[in-house]
Amino acid sequence: MEGFWNIFQAFSVVLVIGGTPLLFATLGELLTEKAGHLNLGVEGMMLIGAVAGFAAGHFTGSPLLAMGGAFLAGGLGAMIYGFLTVTLRANQVVSGLALTMFGTGISSYLGVNFIGQKMSAEISAFFSPVAIPLLSSIPYVGRVFFRQDPMVYLGYVTVALLGTYLYRTRIGLNLRAVGENPGAADASGINVDLYKYVHIFLGGALCGLGGAYLSVVAVPQWQDGITAGRGWIAIALVIFAGWNPFKAILGAYLFGGLSIIGFYFGNYFSAWNISQNLIDMLPYAVTILVLTASSVRKSKEKGAPKALGVAYYREER
């Protein structure tokens, strides 16, 4: 039993690492959707961030520039989507899909020369785990949540900031108004297009950070298509979390755990004759189950911004 407990603890530590890229991407998509925009380009923005972060880290050797570059690149990628859907009122679904294809193509294009290359030792050292005094000595919880790398902590901070921003500030209130009823927001003097642009940018930037966490911190070497569908899981997680940043962290870690379960408990599964390839289906199968369950509970109607996915035409108000 002690063997299982040790494995479980090690599993929990890695679960948080596996959940962190999902967390950033989920928060990014959540912020975008609060502005009334469904951006299906998460996978693409993560890949843009992943390659930009890797390149910035590779050429400058600076961990901060790596993350800053990913943040900026993810945001700029999102601006393509923003221009198409905010200014040109294009179909949000197709625009998002196009962004995913663009991100997949451009990351694979720019990443060709990085394939198999590792992040430098200095950068890896910067992102190595830091124990937080006192908190890290709590049994289990301390080891799992408070002996992690700085980006994991940035994840906690982002959740808290975003929660406060959305529910405790005037700008956050305005943003939610834009997502719920842009006509009314416009009438009360809110610059609807500006709000949309800013939050689409920030949303994409967070997705970019999620991608860079994979390429710069977690893996940390370049692989083609490094995100492996995490962007899509993040979109599902936003629905699962009911558009609430605090619930998003639960979902992200849950799915972070699912993606590594085969690696840690492989022995237990093979004892029952279950193939690794079938266990690898778990995150995707559970996404389907969770999404179906939330649609059965109709939590969708409860949490989704009312004007999500609908273009706003002032002239047709």
């Binding site: 198409l84 040109l88 193509g105 979109i235 179906t292 649609s295 108000r317």
Partner: protein, 359 residues
Amino acid sequence: MIRMAKQGNMTGRKAAAIRVTAILLAFLASSLFIRILGHNPLAVYGSMLVGAFGSPMRIRDTLTVAIPLTLTSIGILVAFKMKFWNIGAEGQILMGAFAASMVAYNLGNLSRWVVLPLMFLAGFVGGGLWALLPAWLKMKWNTNETIITLMLNYIAIKWITFLQYGPWRDPASMGFPKMPNFASGAIVPKLFGIQAGFLVAILFVVLAHYFMHHSKGGYEVAVVGESVDTARYAGMNVKKIVLTALVISGGISGIVGMLEASGVNHTLNASISAGYGFTAIITTWLSGLKPLVVLPVSILFAAMTKGGGYIQTVYQIPQAAAQVLQSMILFFVIGSEFFVQYKLVFQRKKSPNPQEGGQ
């Protein structure tokens, strides 16, 4: 001040001109990108043309890619017409190939005239059922179909990989994880050096054209796409229409899987779908959801894919450049829709026109 106003009914020709201009602008923007990389854009595009159409063999290769693209686009078109965002063609292709392979491995020794029709049918059923699940969930609980269809792609990939490493592994391959080759009766023959599946592709383009524009079913699909409420009010059985259309949509992709496994690879593996399911989303949208336009657009994209492979060898430009170019075209065409639907009205500041009040 610039203001936008709804465009009156634009002629089809003018709308087409706007879309073609958008494609040209995409090439222009990509030229800039190629220029920055230090190559001559015209030379690169020229090489792409050579790579796609430079010899009879290259033309055959390009058309071999155009077949799955065309068929998959037709399948996706049926779903997109209803605003059902089926992005699971990749998985539907694989599950169609899986079902067809089941026939091939069990009955492959029978006559080609028995095996191939059965495989065709199995492919349709495999792909169709894989698309039925998200359609049913959507109808029953309004579950987001985009994510479900995408997740089913990954599950299909893992399933085929599982078969490849497990139960269907070829015992004769000396430990190398691959599935057995099909018996000759289970292989789609070639015609003019191209797999005969191109006949199927052309047939489905024509069928889809008649279905979408000249049949009751096509009309119903279009109405559901415009407004579910209108469809209900007109007494249509929306649930039945959506479920049927999605079985057809996924089924056509399933046929692609059958053709690719049987006519091109002669075996089953997880990479036979080769990203066609995603590229076809672009070609479908670019065709303006018109079946007859799907064919030339698919050939153009097949040419870009093949040409992209060629410039990799000539200029050492990574093959992914073709994908970047394709997504650039998509960006520009999506953006150009605005100019089909709206016109920009330039007016002087402070000239409120009372007759133009709200609608």
